[in-house]
């Protein structure tokens, strides 16, 4: 078949040192390397090489890096991609240069909505799914009035928008909201405002350190004792791990992956653990899964030519430890089951990484925005 440079060149772009590095970062790179090893280091006799870089969560750095990778290093695809703002910028370049991007880190549902491109696939989760998992569950359990605490940037805005819609659809209301600068180290006054609002639920539309700080502050001000409930709308395994169960117990969250769910997830995660000393987040698992799917498509199509590979990827359902029967839609959304989980009580946890109890599986079609509501330019109506 046809292979550019006689090699398959992949790239990994993520926040390697900043706020989001623990949930993606070097751990995601390790997952990518596992995928390369597992496929045998080469496909159809063509060697696989990988480059990686730190985008520092800055759109300009990410986009420039990818532009250079494509111009100079002739990469065929890029995986990883964390901050939504970076992803949207990178996807523009990737589209312009006709390469492939597999997005595992970002959350904003706009990536496959108003910013969709034919060259990108959004793999793990998105804000729509988060809203339809966590927020919906909370409203249905009776948390009708909400106070939104939102990170004041693209991702927070998207999450806030998706959550508002879900809450209203399910008969709840948003009584008030406040946007905090990104990042913020002190949440006390926001928490105080949330407290003053009298809402039943405080929805945290932020991520990483912002979420962990909000949670800690809330516990300090006795929010839960006073009868209000917290909904962390985007919580990663490492957040819970670092905050500890005492602070986070009972928190409900939506995730695209949890290591201790099935035999396959445990087996893969165990291998990952042996290499990194940590259990994988959904993003890190997603990096492996998305790359593996890509490699298999290259293998099957026997080329690394963009459109051929993309076609092959779309035509094949995703079936691995990460997703069962996942399918890639025309707008770039990889639709797969999501899970509503609850953080365990310290007493119920048997080891350091025994953190979640999966409450419910949310079927993919319910979790993700239906194409009928899509604004993506690729979707024919």
């Amino acid at each position: 078949g046809q292979y550019s440079d006689d090699e398959i060149r992949v790239a990994y772009l993520a926040d390697m040192s900043g706020t989001y590095s623990a949930l993606s970062g070097p751990g995601g790179l390790e997952a990518a390397k596992m995928a390369i090893e597992d496929i045998g280091g080469s496909i159809n006799g063509k060697k696989i090489t990988i480059v990686s870089a730190d985008d520092q969560n800055k759109p300009d750095i990410g986009a420039n890096k990818v532009r250079q990778w494509i111009d100079v290093d002739n990469i065929d695809m890029v995986a990883g991609m964390v901050a939504s703002s970076v992803t949207i910028a990178v996807n523009k370049v990737v589209e312009q240069k006709n390469k492939i991007s597999l997005v595992s880190g970002s959350a904003a549902s706009s990536i496959t909505n108003e910013y969709c491109t034919p060259n990108s696939i959004h793999w793990v989760y998105d804000t729509y799914a988060l809203a339809h998992g966590t927020a919906k569950a909370v409203v249905q359990e009776g948390g009708k009035s909400w106070f939104m605490l939102t990170a004041d940037y693209a991702f927070g805005h998207a999450l806030e928008r998706d959550v508002e819609k879900v809450v209203q659809e399910n008969g709840g209301e948003i009584v008030d909201k406040v946007r905090h600068p990104f990042p913020t180290s002190d949440f006390s006054s926001f928490i105080l405002q949330a407290q003053g609002s009298g809402a039943q639920v405080i929805g945290l539309a932020n991520a990483g350190a912002d979420t962990t700080n909000s949670l800690k502050t809330a516990s300090e001000f006795g929010i839960t004792q006073a009868g209000q409930k917290l909904a962390g709308l985007l919580i990663f395994l490492n957040d819970v791990h670092s905050l500890g169960l005492k602070v986070t117990q009972g928190l409900q969250l939506t995730t695209g992956f949890y290591w201790d769910r099935t035999e396959e997830t445990r087996a893969w995660s165990q291998r990952y653990f042996e290499r990194t000393g940590r259990m994988p987040t959904m993003v890190q698992a997603g990096v492996y899964s998305s790359l593996m799917h890509y490699f298999k498509a290259v293998q099957a199509a026997d080329t690394d030519e963009t459109q051929a590979v993309l076609q092959q990827m779309r035509d094949t359902p995703v079936n691995d430890f990460f997703a069962q029967n996942g399918k890639i839609r025309i707008d770039g959304r990889m639709v797969h089951d999501m899970y509503l989980a609850e953080v365990k009580k310290p007493a119920d946890s048997t080891n350091e990484w025994d953190l979640y109890k999966v409450l419910r599986t949310i079927p993919g079609d319910e979790a993700y925005r239906p194409l009928s509501e899509s604004q993506c330019k690729l979707v024919q109506k």
């Binding site: 480059v51 730190d54 004041d152 940037y153």
Partner: protein, 313 residues
């Protein structure tokens, strides 16, 4: 080297030759980035090195140039040159306003006022509807030069950027060696004396500040066209700090110092980040600055000049 530096014309010729041939060996987009930052640092140096004013808010001009040009090119569909000219003018105007407010203060207070003003500008860019917030202003078209030459091609874009850089650099060089430059020098040397000779020093500083802001804006406008993106990074105070570092690293008050400093910093950021030392980039940058401050205080170009003076005079 010696004979070259004895005759600046020869030196300039050689450098120009190198600049024209460079994209054959080096990735043009990287070179364009270097040129943009070199112009930015040179503009900053006009202020710090030749007027003695440390602005800690120069990012605001870089960003203003970038955003305005980006907005014009994406929304108004004007030609690339016009977009850049308007971006530059906007930064110049902003520079005038900053200057008006800050110029009466000195030293650290001047630095802090410029920082504070730049923070307000940053806030504006975060909040304003047209900037795309955190996402940045994306998909700026490179367009055609004079409606003829497509700039989509990296090489033609490169020569366009090189021309802009040379224009900016020549303007700075001329400013320094102009009657105006003489007065600036006098002000830096002994301000009260310059006042007593009847010079309205604030006006001179203001003009210098405005010029510097305009050139910084030019760098930002050009950069946004090259990368087809204007983002908050350019407006963040880190950027204001970075340009100080570039300038000091290369050599304050030397013509080529900022250029060398910018090239060094940009290369480090570009090439170090992808190597095995990836997660140590910050640490390595930190180390370099520490070493520079301790051992090569006049910056790279400054030290070379000192060395030449010592050994060949």
């Amino acid at each position: 080297m010696i004979s070259k530096s004895d005759n600046p014309k020869v030196l300039y010729g050689v450098l120009l030759g190198l600049a024209i041939l460079a994209p054959l060996a080096i990735y043009p987009v990287f070179l364009m980035k270097v040129l943009c930052f070199a112009l930015f640092a040179s503009a900053f140096n006009l202020l710090l090195g030749y007027v003695g004013l440390l602005s800690f808010g120069h990012a605001a001009f870089l960003a203003t140039g970038g955003y305005i040009t980006g907005h014009i090119l994406t929304q108004w569909g004007l030609s690339t040159e016009l977009g850049i000219i308007f971006g530059t003018l906007a930064a110049t105007a902003l520079g005038y306003i900053f200057g008006k407010l800050a110029i009466r203060r000195q030293g650290i207070y001047f630095a802090m006022i410029t920082l504070a003003l730049a923070q307000l500008v940053f806030f504006l860019f975060v909040q304003a509807p047209f900037t795309g917030g955190e996402n940045g202003l994306q998909g700026i078209p490179r367009g055609n030069l004079f409606g003829l030459i497509s700039l989509q091609d990296n090489l033609s874009m490169y020569y366009f950027v090189l021309a802009i850089f040379i224009f900016g650099f020549a303007l700075i060089q001329r400013t320094i060696h102009s009657p105006f430059g003489q007065v600036l020098k006098a002000i830096r040397e002994n301000e009260p004396r310059a006042i007593s000779l009847g010079y309205d020093v604030d006006k001179y500083k203001l003009l210098a500040f405005t010029l510097s802001a305009g050139l910084a804006g030019l760098a930002g406008s050009t950069k946004s066209v090259v990368f087809q993106l204007a983002s908050l990074t350019d407006a963040h105070w880190h950027m204001s700090g970075e340009v100080v570092l570039m300038t000091l690293l290369g050599g304050v008050g030397t013509l080529f110092g900022p250029v060398v400093g910018a090239a060094t910093v940009v290369s480090l950021q570009n090439y170090l980040a992808q190597g095995p030392l990836g997660s140590w980039v910050t640490v390595i940058l930190g180390l370099i600055f520490v070493i520079c401050v301790l051992a090569f205080r006049s910056g790279i170009v400054g030290e070379i000049q000192k060395f030449m003076r010592k050994n060949f005079e």
